[in-house]
């Protein structure tokens, strides 16, 4: 059990190192696609850490991402703070917020949680707009840094790798085992002595942490930021779709989900710019009817067949 765990980690490390060469090899067009893909890999990996074992569908990614982008933008634009400081603050704020949301909703059944997270990005966006309009004066924010697209890519890569490593570490810990039990049967979990609320809240806080950092790191890409634009509910759905397409049952699911999705998405939005919503719908049908456990689930099925066929 432990040996294969380390093998998995070694493969992930090799992939991360290979991925580090992308900006040196690719032209600007492909690098820009790679940045988007890496952003979703980081977001989906941290999403899977929580939603994979617990089966709670979180639609809060957009909210945490927005907190990162907005705090970096407003801190740098209005208060001359450093990028790094604001990124750190945003991660802290989102982690605490996730803790509060978790404490309020994760004791209830999963449905309340989904609905609450669905409205969260919108709620924070309205709150920020209201504060901005009434107290700070409404205007766009400038994020001016020396970061190139390659720098942003590498920072996202570090975040994705960190999320993966944390997930790997948690999976092998008591906490990871507790989450698997919770995902199977929450009543049993409580009766073997697991504090189910705490376990879920801690994991949900990690998604808040990574969501905000990704939002912070990507902010310099846009230079000019409307507070209204960074809190996008759409992003939350994209994260869920890509994570489910890859498969939420494995930590490496997002990697095999995000890459094909981003490539096809790029093609679709160039060729059929008005049909992107339909494309999302089709992917969703594909997941529900053909790949209920994602690409990972299908690959593992095939692997089992090959092994059985070999004997």
């Amino acid at each position: 059990m432990s040996r294969s765990g380390f093998k998995e980690l070694a493969i992930a490390a090799c992939l991360a190192i290979l991925a580090g060469f992308v900006p040196l090899v690719f032209n600007n067009y492909w690098l820009s696609i790679s940045v988007t893909a890496m952003m979703y890999i980081a977001l989906c990996t941290s999403w899977v850490m929580f939603s994979g074992p617990t089966h709670y569908i979180s639609l809060a990614s957009g909210a945490f991402f927005g907190i990162g982008g907005y705090l970096v933008a407003t801190g740098m634009s209005d208060y001359q703070m450093s990028f790094w400081l604001m990124a750190g603050i945003s991660a802290l704020v989102a982690t605490i917020l996730a803790g509060l949301i978790g404490a309020a909703t994760l004791r209830l059944s999963g449905v309340y949680f989904v609905i609450f997270t669905l409205g969260l990005a919108e709620m924070i966006r309205n709150l920020v707009s209201w504060v901005q309009n009434n107290f700070l004066g409404s205007r766009g924010l400038y994020v001016l840094t020396d970061f190139t697209e390659a720098h942003i890519y590498w920072m996202l890569l570090v975040l994705a790798a960190a999320a993966y490593f944390l997930g790997w570490y948690i999976n092998r810990s008591r906490l990871g085992f507790a989450l698997r039990i919770i995902g199977n049967d929450e009543t049993v979990a409580r009766h073997v002595g697991i504090n189910t609320a705490t376990a879920k809240i801690v994991l949900f806080m990690t998604t808040g942490f990574f969501g905000a950092l990704v939002g912070a790191v990507i902010a310099p890409r846009y230079s000019y930021i409307e507070p209204n634009q960074v809190f996008s509910p759409e992003l939350s759905f994209m994260v869920v779709i890509m994570a489910l397409l890859g498969g939420a049952g494995r930590l490496w699911g997002p990697i095999v989900g995000v890459i094909p999705f981003t490539l096809v998405w790029e093609y679709v939005s160039l060729q059929f710019p008005n049909q992107t919503t339909m494309f999302i719908g089709l992917i969703f049908l594909l997941i529900v009817f053909v790949l209920p456990n994602g690409i990972v689930g299908r690959l593992e099925q095939v692997a089992v067949k090959i092994r059985q066929g070999g004997h």
Binding site: A178, D185, V192
Partner: protein
């Protein structure tokens, strides 16, 4: 409540579900190393009583104490950590975990906490104890009903509980399985464990229990040694009345 030397005491406990009074002012205690049966017709509130002891539900009123300290305000996981272990009337195993992992689950977070190699070895010992070690790496879905029950018992034992709650653990077994099952519970008795068991199998109750509490419509109608209680006219009426209905 003063600690009266009992492992568990149930003091005036009532549970209402809306208008229904499932358990009505129940009062009994269980001594250390004692095996007490809770019997009574279907729907008389036995499972609800067990659920309140294990913390699945909170009593509407009244209190439950373990070794003199009140546990009825605590959440289920805290009660488990204090040393109450239970099985469920309808077996609950963790379907995506192997048999061994199901039992490890009981060893890691419970009354005594173990992890890694120690938890695994302990789980193997518990499986051996219930005669299931050969199936350690099997998926749960391949088990027969009695084997599932044995694995669930192993999971509970893996937490080293001070008090063991068995809710109709013998129900649904065929005659040979029943023999195995009764023998297993006999072993628990020989180890001097404190056990509360809900049962319908009268032979098992006679041979296993030191004492019986009889419930009917949420109320305690009798208490005493199995032989005395089972020949009590009121108890017989409660059972037969249920059969006639």
């Amino acid at each position: 409540m003063r600690y009266s030397g009992s492992a568990l005491s149930v003091n005036g406990v009532t549970k209402r579900f809306g208008g229904l009074v499932a358990v009505d002012n129940m009062e009994f205690s269980v001594g250390e190393h004692e095996m007490v049966g809770i019997i009574g017709p279907n729907g008389s509130g036995k499972t609800t009583m067990m659920n309140m002891i294990s913390g699945t539900f909170k009593p509407t009123s009244g209190s439950i104490s373990m070794m003199g300290s009140r546990i009825s305000d605590l959440p289920a996981q805290e009660i488990t950590r204090r040393g109450v272990g239970r099985t469920f009337q309808l077996v609950r195993l963790l379907p995506s975990l192997s048999v061994l992992e199901n039992v490890i689950a009981g060893a890691v977070f419970g009354h005594r906490k173990r992890w890694g190699r120690e938890a695994e070895d302990h789980a193997h010992r518990m499986l051996e104890r219930v005669g299931m070690d050969a199936m350690s790496y099997a998926p749960v879905s391949s088990l027969t009903y009695i084997d599932q029950k044995r694995v669930e018992l192993a999971r509970v034992l893996a937490g080293d509980p001070e008090i063991l709650l068995l809710d109709e653990w013998l129900a649904g077994l065929n005659p040979t399985e029943l023999e195995t099952g009764i023998e297993l519970i006999h072993d628990l008795r020989k180890e001097g464990r404190t056990v509360i068991l809900v049962e319908h199998v009268m032979d098992a109750i006679r041979s296993l229990c030191d004492r019986c509490v009889v419930m009917s419509s949420g109320v305690k109608i009798a208490e005493g040694s199995p032989d005395v209680v089972l020949s009590d006219p009121e108890v017989i009426r409660a059972y037969l009345g249920d059969d006639d209905a």
